[in-house]
């Protein structure tokens, strides 16, 4: 059963992304694209002629997608949370390498920003994992899901996670890495056709990755987890519609200043 979910993970992520586009459209009081729009986009991209800069550049996108899929599989199989965070980091590094491997200035700029984003959210993810460890006594997701009470004991940590979710799903105010119309998608810029499709699909997997962290806060009660995910989804999209993009340095300041202090206060509170 788990294997079926793993195989269907990109499709599931695609549905989330499609639903998000509809939701954002409704928030702006317009009709918006159909729910299955991401899949239409994928099929169309398969039908486009593909322009390749050089082979490693194209293959790094595929590798990024595959490692990310593996990460999501590890989440579904209930592996160690730290492995999962570092597997995800590995996937991001493949993407950043791809960004640096071409001569386009925008691609380099995007890779720089992507690197800064990793620097911003990675410590928070690890502190979140530590928080789960302090409560449940294990880094294993399967064990964490059997415990409970994370929601009462780690409220500030949850807020910290809420602050970095927009970074991971590339939403305002922290969408500096992609920044359409400013650096034209950053790392994505030199991709086209089938290889762009891999990047497009890896975005779906990122959704599953970051929202499963939110889901973990529900613990043994899956209903609470689902409610938390839905609430986060709404808040993130509301904030996305209501704010403008912040500067990269400001993003780091906000994340380190606000989210990191909240997380550390919470951890100290649990320890003492």
């Amino acid at each position: 059963m788990t294997w079926i979910w793993i195989l269907l993970a990109p499709l599931l992520g695609g549905l989330i992304y499609g639903g998000e586009r509809v939701l954002r459209a409704r928030m702006q009081r317009r009709q918006g694209p159909p729910l299955l729009q991401p899949f239409y986009d994928m099929f169309k991209l398969l039908d486009k002629r593909t322009l390749i800069i050089h082979a490693p550049h194209a293959l790094l996108a595929v590798a990024h997608f595959l490692v990310l899929w593996f990460t999501v599989a590890a989440i579904f199989l209930g592996w160690n949370l730290l492995y999962i965070i570092f597997l995800h980091l590995f996937a991001q590094i493949l993407l950043i390498l791809a960004g640096y491997s071409v001569r386009s200035v925008y691609s380099h700029l995007g890779a720089n920003r992507e690197l800064l984003m990793v620097v911003a959210y990675e410590p928070i993810l690890i502190v979140v994992a530590v928080g789960f460890y302090l409560i449940s006594g294990s880094f294993e997701i399967s064990t964490i899901l059997q415990g409970g009470g994370y929601w009462h004991q780690l409220p500030l940590l949850f807020v910290a996670l809420l602050i970095i979710v927009p970074i991971k799903v590339k939403k305002s105010p922290f969408d500096v890495g992609e920044a359409h119309q400013e650096i034209v998608g950053g790392i994505e810029i030199e991709y086209s056709g089938v290889f762009y499709e891999f990047l497009y699909m890896s975005r779906f997997l990122e959704y599953i990755f970051i929202y499963s962290f939110v889901f973990l806060f529900g613990g043994e009660s899956y209903w609470l987890g689902a409610v938390l995910v839905a609430g986060t989804f709404l808040v993130v999209n509301l904030v996305d519609n209501a704010t403008a993009r912040v500067h990269t340095a400001d993003m780091l300041k906000i994340v380190y200043g606000v989210a990191m202090s909240l997380a550390i206060i919470n951890i100290l509170g649990v320890l003492l």
Partner: protein, 175 residues
């Protein structure tokens, strides 16, 4: 493949380029993307990146400065692609016709599939033009399209069309 071809018209991503227009038509294009006319309900995304676009929306009569960018952007869009010329000045030169520093319309440089008239053309007309463009897009093949009407012979490497060499020719042709 036949199966995927039907999805072309469901997800047209557009690239918008201003080849020296007065900005009137650009504002109308943005208006048709904005909530009131909501082009996104057709799956349209304004990508800003030629390598991922299907529809090339051009405004303006092609000033001498913008010629090479126009042709370069056109060659960077992977096939199948459709060009939509928005505004009278894109079609014939419009109010800029005969001026010293502009060409009269973009079809001297790249083949145009749909002309949207009007100075400035309205969002309704632009949406109509895009829907027409989708029909053309669906009927197109993946053959490389030849961008030039003015710069003569087609450049090839081996027996393949060379985008790079054709773009170079535009660079060298200073005024």
């Amino acid at each position: 493949m036949k199966f995927f071809t039907t999805f072309r018209k469901k997800s047209p991503w557009i690239l918008h380029y201003n080849a020296g227009s007065c900005n009137g038509c650009d504002i109308e294009i943005l208006a048709s993307l904005a909530p009131k006319f909501d082009l996104e309900r057709f799956g349209v995304i304004n990508t800003g990146n030629p390598k991922q676009s299907d529809i090339f929306l051009v405004t303006g009569p092609v000033t001498y400065r913008s010629r090479e960018r126009l042709v370069e952007l056109y060659t960077q869009i992977p096939e199948p692609k459709v060009v939509v010329a928005v505004g009278s000045c894109t079609a014939t030169g419009g109010v800029f016709r005969g001026m010293v520093n502009t060409e009269d319309g973009i079809d001297r440089y790249i083949p145009v599939d749909v002309y949207v008239p009007g100075c400035a053309s309205s969002p309704q007309l632009i949406i109509d033009g895009l829907v027409k463009a989708l029909e053309i897009l669906e009927a197109k093949s993946k053959e490389i399209e030849k961008p030039f009407k003015l710069f003569g012979a087609i450049e090839t490497i081996g027996n393949k069309l060379s985008r790079l060499n054709m773009a170079k020719k535009v660079h060298n042709d200073e005024n």
